[in-house]
């Protein structure tokens, strides 16, 4: 057996060498190979003894051995026993010869796959030995969905949906919508008529008919800010969430030059 073990034992890096084996079958194959005989013809018993001796050497050197190898050792020890002891009558266990044949077959199967793997590695490979088109051109399918529905489906969907949501208020009455420009003009007019501080809400209430309070407030608030920005009105509020009051800007003589500029800007934006 010398070779494998000799190689191993000479070296301190023992464990590393054992790690070089891909499990107990691999070790068995390596051992068999040192015999330089056809695995089909070699003596399983001799192989088993080599394996067990090898494991024993490792043990003596107090080297940790992966459990796989120990399990195999135990099984091989059992196999050895069966091979040496003549078959007993009324024994249900498979005899030594059968077990040995199973082992030899496993080794052969692994060996065959080893060779097949080597063959694969030597095949021409795409990208290494053989190339595909370097500048492939696209082959495409543009899928265009053609939707289908029948009128009955459509109506049924509508009817069912309306029935279920039925009582729910559905009302699409056109709303009075105040544009900022519109509200600006309106407020400008109203604030000019008002005497002194007037609550913004009051002015808005007089902007026109209708009870579109929120829309009016939203537009009115923006418009009043715009008036103030342009120096046409003043806005005051006693504190957060307090009432907003608006009045025409007082004392226009106090205007700075930038106000003039703003005025021009205002005209432009109301255009």
């Amino acid at each position: 057996m010398g070779e494998v073990i000799g190689l191993q034992t000479r070296d301190k890096a023992f464990v590393v060498d054992l790690d070089g084996f891909e499990g107990p079958l691999d070790l068995l194959l390596a051992l068999a190979r040192t015999e330089k005989v056809d695995i089909a013809k070699m003596s399983v018993l001799a192989l088993v003894e080599q394996y067990l001796a090898f494991i024993e050497t490792l043990r003596e050197r107090r080297i940790e051995i992966a459990s796989d190898y120990l399990v195999m050792a135990a099984w091989l020890a059992y196999l050895k026993a069966r091979l040496l002891v003549p078959k007993q009558a009324r024994d249900d266990e498979p005899d030594g010869e059968e077990l040995a044949a199973i082992l030899a077959e496993r080794l052969q199967r692994l060996e065959a796959m080893r060779v097949a793997a080597r063959h694969l590695a030597e095949r021409p490979r795409l990208g290494r030995d053989i190339l595909a088109r370097g500048q492939p051109e696209a082959i495409r399918d543009h899928r265009i969905a053609r939707y289908e529905a029948s009128l009955v489906d459509l109506l049924r969907a509508y009817a069912e949906q309306r029935r279920l949501r039925g009582a729910a208020r559905v009302e699409m009455a056109p709303r009075r919508v105040w544009s900022l420009t519109e509200m600006y003009e309106c407020l400008e007019r109203l604030v000019g008529k008002a005497a002194g501080w007037t609550p913004l809400q009051t002015l808005l209430d007089h902007a026109g008919p209708g009870d579109d309070r929120e829309g009016r407030l939203a537009a009115g608030f923006s418009a009043s800010l715009e008036l103030v920005r342009e120096g046409r009105a003043e806005l005051r509020q006693a504190g957060p969430f307090e009432r907003l009051d608006l009045r025409t800007r007082q004392g226009r003589d106090g205007q700075g030059p930038e106000d003039d500029g703003r005025e021009g800007g205002a005209d432009e934006r109301r255009r």
Partner: protein, 248 residues
Amino acid sequence: MSGAGNDIDGETPRSATVTALTPDDRRAHLRMLEALLFASREPLSEAMLADRLPDDVNVRLCLAELQSAYAGRGVVLARRGDGWAFRTADDLAWLMSREMEEPKKLSRPALETLAIIAYHQPVTRADIEEIRGVSVSRGTLDVLMDAGWVRIRGRRRSPGRPVTYGTTPGFLDHFALTAIDDLPGMEELKGAGLFDGPVPGGLSVPVPSDDPALRADEDPYEGDAEETREEETGASGEADADGEGEPR
């Protein structure tokens, strides 16, 4: 490609090239050139080819020969500026890309949304959601616009200026309606047995109109189409985001 093999393989002598070379050499040179051009990730210039081929290859002559060997075939050897590359023949472009129509059934939410748009137009998405009682995914509206049944009419003159949807002539066409008011009213719906259960008392169905003229509370949609589109394309390539705000 006509006759198996004889365009490229040596049998048929082809003008000047041949004289100097044995047919085997000539064939070997063409093979190499062919393989290089096929596998290269970019068009190859004559200089690059010369650099990669054995010294005794006359690149220019081989290119000319290869080009004429492929002339008229499904793949041609084309010149691209300095470089040479195989390209599928222009007239076969139709093979490479085809459009396939796939019939698709409209989903239930899409059907409901479409019906609501048809009856209640012009409606905003919020209106549809109010009627349906569930939110309407952008995808659903996209599908309806893709199908060519729904269009953006304009913008509602209200906070946020939401777009308003209405049906298209294509809608009438698909559902074989003479006009939008061909859609059945309440009594007809009942009569046709389209309600599955008891109908709540106050339920009514509007008389639909798809008059393209903008309503009093609608602004035209045009003008911001450009801007919206730009926004959208920036956002993502997904079909969902794609259709967002724009009429197709």
